[in-house]
Each structure stands twice: as structure tokens, then as C-alpha cells.
């Protein structure tokens, strides 16, 4: 075994798991900042509470499993799951919603499968999907882009009341606005896309806010790429296939389909491409497998958005491709040195034939 380790040499790439996760957290900062700037304090309460729950729940389950908690918590992975789920939820979500999501993510999707490295599904997306299916109403009440400060901004006290679950549904409904994808999804059947946009269906500045948030996530993603924490294959494949399929649909029916740019920047696509789909544990792991994995997510996102029942689809697309990851890995193995061709799939052993 090697007695030397890359950690001993200066390199751009962080050499330990804890450092990788640490840099991942740093890379989420631009996205979280942009989200907070546009959607207010609710983003920060989400992220802070979810992150704290991530650590707390992980420690609790490790205790139940009789595993040493200290070393595992130090890898920062529970923190990452919390931050990612927190950033995905509607700003100012109630505590019970976040708690339910985090239990699904950390306890069920991660620890019950054996902890870090053993989860077949992306924990944050399992949490998100559980919430979306179980609590569709609070999950679709996205705050209006009233800003963090300024005359229209929701004061922190109000946000905390929401967080504590004291705000009534009417108040929440009044405060919220649809996301661009949601609004577009639920536009009346006969309405043309051009007419829909002309009617300014969104709260003021919503589209701009979403675009800026997407660009902020892109900046974080660039940092991840620069630090070689993620490979470029999955985000590139996902965004490319998403844009391509969206362009095809748009070309076929420009009056009823969103433009590729709308699909790229209007929802969680960029966030998903750099922060969710790249989770190495649940992704395909061979280099060619990652291409197919990313491309599959991109295609599924567009298909679900266009023809499915949900306005955005990153969580479902990622979970579906998580299912396919082992298969992809079996069929995309690189050609090993000294072998004429790469092996495909799991062949029956000779004595089984």
C-alpha cells in the first residue's frame, strides 16, 4: 500500500473527504446568498434549521447504531445534505416540514442504508421528493421575490412566525407567488406562450430573480469544477441534454413549450446539475457512465416538466437515474489494460451456461 498520500502535497484538489465537503459548502454560498437576496430571510431559516437537523439526526442515528459519531460528523456530509435540502425548499418553510424532509433524507435515505457512501439515492432529493408528494400545498407556496431588505421585504419576525408554523395558509398564500415553472405549467390550455408572458403572470422581478439565482449556482459550480471536486461530465451532459431536448420541443411547438433558456435558468436545473446530480455516491461512477447519467437526468427533467404532473423535476429525474446508476456502471466499464475490448454487463459464468 502507498505510504504517501496526495494530502501531503499541495494541490488544488482537496485531498480529504471532510475538505471536499467543506469546499462544497463554500460553493453553495453564492447560490444561497442570491436566493436570500431575492426571497428573504426564509431561505436562511430553511438552510440553518435543515443543516442543524442534519447534524443532529445523523448523530442520533449513529448513537442508535452504536457507531462513533465524532469521526463521521467531522466529514461534513450531513451538513451538506441539510444545506442542499434547505436551499431547495420554499423559503420560510415550517419547522415540521423541514424536519420531515430531513428525517427522510438523513435517517431513511442515508443512515438506514449504511451511512455515507452506501446510499443508493441522493439523500437530499429523497427528502425533497417525500415532501413534494406528501405535502404538495406548502411545497408549492414559493415566496414572492420581495427581497431581503427594503420596503416590501418580509421582516424576520414574520418569517420566524411562519417557521414556527403559526402563519395561516391564507397568509402564506397571500405572501407567496408561483415559481416561473409552476406558473407556466398551469397556464390555461388554450393560452399561447406569448400571450401568457404578455399578461405578466408572475410577481414583479420573479423571472429575473430566478435567473440570477441560477447564475449564482453556476458560479458555485465553477468553483467546484476549479477545485476538481466534481467532474465536468455530469453537469455538462445534463445541461446539454436538457437544452437540446428543450430546443427540440420548442422548435416543434414554440407556442406551448418553454424556450431552452427558460428551461435552463427558470428552475433548479443549474443547481441540480452542479450540486445534486454530481453527488458521487449515488451517481454512475465510470467516466462514460457519468455522461449517460447526466444526459438521462437532463432529458428526464424536460420530459417531466413538459408532460408530467410536476412543474420542476430535478428531484425525480435524479432519483430515477440513481436507480439506473448500477446498470450504467456495469455497461460502461472502461477497457482494462491488456484486454482487447471492454466488458459489457455481467455475463453468466461459464458453469452456469
Amino acid at each position: 500500500m502507498s505510504l504517501m498520500h496526495a494530502a501531503q502535497t499541495p494541490s488544488r484538489r482537496p485531498a480529504g473527504t471532510a475538505a471536499v465537503m467543506g469546499w462544497l459548502l463554500i460553493a453553495t454560498l453564492p447560490g444561497i446568498a442570491a436566493l436570500s437576496w431575492h426571497f428573504g430571510w426564509g431561505v436562511l431559516t430553511n438552510v440553518a434549521f435543515a443543516a442543524a437537523l442534519g447534524v443532529g439526526l445523523e448523530a442520533a442515528v449513529l448513537r442508535l447504531r452504536g457507531r462513533p459519531a465524532g469521526a463521521t460528523l467531522a466529514d461534513n456530509s450531513a451538513l451538506v445534505t441539510g444545506v442542499l435540502l434547505g436551499a431547495s425548499l420554499p423559503p420560510g418553510s415550517a419547522w415540521w416540514l423541514i424536519l420531515t424532509g430531513m428525517i427522510a433524507a438523513i435517517v431513511v435515505a442515508k443512515q438506514l442504508y449504511g451511512g455515507l457512501g452506501h446510499n443508493p439515492f441522493n439523500p437530499a432529493m429523497v427528502g425533497y421528493a417525500v415532501l413534494l408528494v406528501s405535502f404538495p400545498v406548502p411545497m408549492s407556496l414559493w415566496a414572492a421575490p420581495t427581497g431581503l431588505v427594503g420596503p416590501e421585504a418580509q421582516p424576520l419576525g414574520e418569517v420566524l412566525r411562519q417557521f414556527a408554523g403559526l402563519a395561516t395558509l391564507e397568509t402564506l398564500d397571500a405572501l407567496s407567488g408561483a415559481t416561473p415553472l409552476d406558473a407556466f405549467k398551469h397556464k390555461p390550455e388554450g393560452l399561447m406562450a406569448a400571450e401568457f408572458w404578455a399578461a405578466s403572470p408572475l410577481p414583479e422581478g420573479a423571472l429575473t430573480a430566478w435567473r440570477q439565482v441560477a447564475l449564482a449556482w453556476l458560479a458555485g459550480g465553477a468553483l467546484l469544477l476549479y477545485k476538481r471536486i466534481i467532474g465536468w461530465q455530469i453537469p455538462a451532459a445534463m445541461l446539454a441534454s436538457l437544452a437540446l431536448l428543450a430546443a427540440l420541443l420548442y422548435a416543434a411547438s414554440p407556442s406551448h413549450q418553454g424556450s431552452p433558456l427558460f428551461h435552463l435558468l427558470g428552475g433548479a436545473a443549474v443547481f441540480g446539475a452542479f450540486f445534486i446530480a454530481t453527488d458521487p455516491v449515488s451517481a454512475a461512477t465510470s467516466r462514460r457512465g457519468r455522461w449517460l447519467y447526466g444526459a438521462g437526468i437532463g432529458a428526464l427533467v424536460v420530459l417531466i416538466r413538459a408532460f408530467g404532473g410536476y412543474p420542476d423535476a430535478v428531484a425525480f429525474a435524479v432519483l430515477l437515474m440513481n436507480l439506473a446508476a448500477p446498470l450504467l456502471d456495469y455497461y460502461t466499464e472502461p477497457r482494462a489494460y491488456g484486454h482487447a475490448a471492454a466488458t459489457r454487463g455481467i455475463a453468466a459464468r461459464e458453469d452456469d451456461r
Binding site: 502507498s2 480529504g16 473527504t17 471536499v20 456530509s77 451511512g115 455516491v281 472502461p334 482494462a336 491488456g338
Partner: protein, 566 residues
């Protein structure tokens, strides 16, 4: 897909060679006592041929090669055999060693000097065999066995593996700086033995002095018949791996489970080539080698020519070992070397480097964390494997899948360990996985062997029965002869059909016998080392012979009956 011209992956760890390459090569002090393990080469341990108390001269054989793959061991000092005893070895086990106490000056025992150009192949091979020359790069495979490659394969290129890609090690570097001409001459000799038409020297670009010495030596000998070429390659671990170097220099890939000779290449380490030349030209058996002494715990690191059997502790003390600072002692390099548990061990033929490292230099690895399947190992793997998957299968003991994912193509270079952010000792898992699979195969083979022995017994009983039956039939015939069977009463077509069936059975038994014979010959010639495998093949051959004899007896009896009943 575009064919890669280079091996995939690889890493560039800090080379840490500068400390040991500043000083020129020097002769280590002659030890007062040497310990010569009888198993310091690949293959079977040698058998001692000296008595305790016997006086031996430097270079005199003290143990003879035993078996097809083995090597002689020679006295590395002049003195008296003090003991033949079990002593600790480098892998933590104990093994037989010849201990010699030095007395007085070196008194060389040499073989007659030969001019290799005027000596035939058999004499050269015999000389290599008698001189105990083994691969000095670390694997210690007997050079004579390797040189016989020509009998089975066609080789066109002799590759001199001067890459020395592993950090710390500079033994080949220093050897080339001082003895490049001898290395080249040795390469020419071994190229002729292997039937190679050209020589390629692969050297990494971090050894400019060695390169200059090689170029000068090549220019000085330019008119020679075997064309030689030096290829400088970028420093990248593990380009000194035989398979990786062949890919990099020749663009050829050694097939999985095959030998470099399968693609016409033959690799030798520079030290081996020089030792081979010394054995032929000077008649000097292998009794010394270049050893790199390095590590932060040494005040005077450098490369020394040390007699085999020299206590490691003595060499390190001479190089200024600060014992309190010594945290870890490694034989070989930091990637593939072996951590030594104690200082009381001798230099052996495979000792290319000794690293006396401090705690800061080669710290204990932090605790293993879960694999997050980040794929860093895949990018580093020089064999194009998926270490993250192999790790999964190794941990889950899914040996079938591990084999399917080419576990046995892993060269255990440790590049994956080096990059793993979770500090997982992957190569260690892979070695354990291979061991488990080999153990399982042995187990299956044992069951097969038992079955084959049973089949042999059945065949022997059947043959005895057949012979008895034949004798009985013959007696009956003899008794029946006087009374000739009246015409028309002759037995109808049935015996003829029976005869035909017996003839077919006999032919089939003969083919089976020939096949079993061929399998045994192939295994023996292919250097099969496991005596159990040979014994099993012999059992199968014996079974086939019993079957053949039985078939012959039955056929003969039927023929006799046919003849006597017209």
C-alpha cells in the same frame, strides 16, 4: 475508439530523490558478518551446500538452486560459515539462512571469464544460472529462467527499464551515472540471448545525469550490431511498471494474464544487466548490489554498493541514522515497498532502497473513511480498472464480480491509495481479494484432485476386470478350439459391431491419453510451480492410461474371438 498510446491514469507524487542523489555512488563498509536467506528470489528456496565451520571464499556458492524456478546463493564475504539457521525475514516470517563470519581480506572465488560474443547461448544461460543473477528491480525473478523466454516466444525488443518511477529510489539512477557502458553491454548480451533485434532504454526525465551518461556510453559504442535507442519519458508513476513501460515505449499492451514476451518485449532492470555482464565477463557471481539509503532520519543519505547479507542496521548507522527520529523503515519504495518490522535484517537481492522515514515524512495514514465513489482512483488507475467498484466487491466478498471487473489486472501500484480522499488502503483490499480468490481456487482444485484420484482407482479396477475378462475369454477360446463350429452356426453380425464399437472406444481412449500427456507437458514447460497441480495432471494421465489399457485389452480379446471364429 482512438487507441491510446500511453497507459491510462498515473500519478505524480513528489519524487524525493534529491537527497540521495547528491552524493556519488560509494562502496559500503565490508560487514563482519553476513546473513544470506535461502529464499531471496522468486521461486523455490535454494538448498544449502556448505557445512557449519566450513571456510568459504567470496563468490563461492553456499546454496544451490532447487527446482525449475530458483537461484543460487553465494558467499558475499570470505570467511567461515557460522550457522545454518532460521532467522527473521523481511515479510515478518522466518526462514533458513546461511550466516558467514568474515575473516581477513576478500579472496575471490570466480568462474572462468567468458567473452559473451564468442560463447553460445547454453553456456551463457548456464553461467547466469550458476551466478545467481535475479531481477534487481525488486521482483528478484531468476534471470536465467527469464532469458529462456526465447524457447516459447518470439521477442523483438529488449527494454531496459530505467524509469525508476517510484519516489525515493535512485539506485538505478546512480548505477547508470557510474556504469552506463556496462549496463548497455549487458543489455546487448541479454538481447542476443532473448533473440531481440533492438534495445530500447526507457528513462524518466528527472534523471538528466544518468541520461547523459547513457548517451555518452551509447555514442562510444555506436558501431555495435544491435541498434539501441534511448527514450526519455515524462516522470509519472507507475511508468516503471513493466506493462506500463511497454505501453509507453512500444504502444503495445501485454495481454491480461500474459507476459511481456507475448507482445515481443523483454524487460530488464539496469542493475540486472550489469550483474549479468559481471557474471559472464568477470566470472563474478551476484554478491553485491546498489542500495539507496534515504529518508529524513539519515544524516548522510546516498547510494551504496553493499554486499548481500549486510545487516540493514549497519548500513543505516553508517549513513547517520538518528534512531529516535526513525518512525518507519521501508524496503523498496513508499508506494509498493514493504514496511520492515525490525532493523535486524540483511540486505537481499531485492533490496533496492531503504527508507528511514520520520513521522512527518511518512505519517501513519488517518483512519479509513467511507468510500464516496468520487472516482479519483479510477482517474489514477494505470490499468484502466474501476477501483471504486472493485473495492465494493472486495468488501462484500463478491469474488465473482471482482474477477469480472478484472481484479487480477491490478498491479497493486497503490496509485489509488495515493489519491483516495477517504484514505482507504485500496491496494491492500485488492491483494486480500486476490488471495481469497486464489485460496478458493486451490480449494476447488483440491476437490478436483480427490475426484481425479477416485476416477483413477475406478479406472484401475475397470482395467483389471477387463484384462481378467480377456484372459478368461482366451482360455475359453483355447478350450473350444478343437471343436470347430459348424458352418452357418457362426455368430452373426453382432460381434463385428461390437468390435467396431471397441475400436472407437480404443481410439478415444488413446486420444484422451495423448491429451492428458500434452496437458502435463505444457504445465511442466510453462513453469507450473505448484507440485499439487503437477501431481493432479499425472493422476489424470495415469487414469487415461488405465482406460487405454482396458480398452486395448477388450479390443484384443474381441479380435482374438473374431479370428478364431471365422
Amino acid at each position: 475508439m482512438v487507441e491510446r498510446l500511453d497507459f491510462p491514469g498515473g500519478i505524480t507524487p513528489p519524487t524525493r530523490k534529491a537527497r540521495a542523489t547528491r552524493a556519488p555512488l560509494r562502496e559500503a563498509a565490508r560487514p563482519a558478518r553476513v546473513v544470506l536467506p535461502l529464499a531471496q528470489h522468486a521461486g523455490a528456496p535454494a538448498e544449502p551446500c556448505v557445512r557449519v565451520g566450513q571456510r568459504v571464499r567470496t563468490g563461492e556458492p553456499v546454496a544451490r538452486a532447487a527446482g525449475l524456478v530458483s537461484a543460487e546463493v553465494h558467499a558475499s564475504v570470505t570467511g567461515r560459515v557460522a550457522a545454518l539457521e532460521e532467522r527473521p525475514l523481511h515479510d515478518g516470517s522466518r526462514g533458513p539462512c546461511v550466516v558467514i563470519d568474515a575473516e581477513g581480506e576478500d579472496d575471490w572465488w570466480t568462474l572462468p571469464s567468458l567473452d559473451w560474443r564468442a560463447t553460445d547461448d547454453d553456456a551463457l544461460l548456464a553461467r547466469l544460472d550458476a551466478s545467481g543473477v535475479v531481477g534487481l528491480g525488486g521482483a528478484a525473478f531468476p534471470a536465467q529462467v527469464k532469458a529462456r523466454i526465447r524457447e516459447l516466444h518470439e521477442v523483438d525488443t529488449l527494454v531496459v527499464n530505467a524509469a525508476e518511477c517510484e519516489p525515493y529510489i535512485s539506485a538505478d539512477d546512480l548505477l547508470l551515472r557510474h556504469h552506463a557502458a556496462e549496463v548497455l553491454e549487458g543489455a546487448r548480451m541479454m538481447a542476443r540471448l532473448a533473440g531481440a533485434a533492438r534495445i530500447l532504454v526507457g528513462i524518466e526525465d528527472d534523471k538528466p545525469e544518468a541520461l547523459a551518461a547513457l548517451e555518452a556510453a551509447l555514442a562510444a559504442s555506436g558501431h555495435d550490431d544491435t541498434p539501441a535507442e534511448i527514450r526519455v519519458i515524462a516522470t509519472r508513476y507507475p511508468s516503471g511498471g513493466e506493462r506500463q513501460l511497454i505501453k509507453r515505449l512500444l504502444g503495445r499492451e501485454v495481454p491480461s494474464g500474459g507476459l511481456p514476451a507475448d507482445v515481443g518485449a523483454h524487460c530488464h532492470n539496469p542493475g540486472t544487466l550489469r550483474a549479468a555482464l559481471a557474471a559472464v565477463r568477470d566470472g563474478r557471481p551476484l554478491v553485491e548490489r546498489v542500495v539507496t539509503l534515504t529518508g529524513e532520519a539519515l544524516a548522510r543519505p546516498g547510494n551504496v554498493v553493499a554486499r548481500l547479507g549486510t545487516p540493514i542496521a549497519e548500513l543505516l548507522e553508517d549513513a547517520g541514522l538518528a534512531r529516535p527520529a526513525l518512525h518507519r523503515l521501508v524496503m523498496g519504495g513508499p508506494m509498493m515497498g514493504r514496511a520492515l518490522g525490525e532493523l535486524d535484517l540483511p540486505v537481499v537481492k531485492a533490496t533496492n532502497c531503504l527508507i528511514a522515514a520520520t513521522r512527518e515524512e511518512l505519517p501513519d495514514p488517518p483512519p479509513e473513511q467511507p468510500c464516496i465513489r468520487c472516482g479519483a482512483c479510477e482517474e489514477a488507475c494505470p490499468a484502466g480498472l474501476l477501483p471504486q467498484q472493485l473495492y465494493w466487491f472486495a468488501r462484500g466478498r463478491e469474488h465473482d464480480k471482482a474477477e469480472r471487473f478484472h481484479l487480477f489486472d491490478c498491479i497493486e501500484c497503490g496509485a489509488c491509495d495515493y489519491v483516495c480522499p477517504s484514505h482507504i488502503p485500496l491496494a491492500q483490499y485488492f491483494r486480500a481479494g486476490k488471495d481469497a480468490i486464489r485460496a478458493r481456487r486451490r480449494e476447488a482444485a483440491r476437490a478436483d484432485h480427490a475426484r481425479h484420484r477416485f476416477e483413477f482407482r475406478q479406472a484401475r479396477l475397470a482395467r483389471e476386470a477387463a484384462e481378467k475378462e480377456a484372459r478368461r475369454a482366451a482360455r475359453k477360446q483355447a478350450a473350444a478350439r478343437p471343436r470347430r463350429r459348424p458352418a452357418g452356426e457362426a455368430q452373426p453380425a453382432e460381434p463385428a459391431a461390437d468390435l467396431r464399437g471397441l475400436r472407437i472406444a480404443e481410439t478415444a481412449a488413446r486420444a484422451a491419453e495423448r491429451k492428458a500427456q500434452k496437458a502435463l507437458t505444457r504445465a511442466a514447460e510453462g513453469g507450473e510451480q505448484d507440485p499439487a497441480v503437477i501431481a493432479d495432471l499425472e493422476t489424470q494421465l495415469a487414469t487415461a492410461r488405465e482406460n487405454l489399457q482396458a480398452a486395448e485389452a477388450r479390443l484384443q480379446a474381441a479380435r482374438d474371438a473374431e479370428e478364431k471364429t471365422p
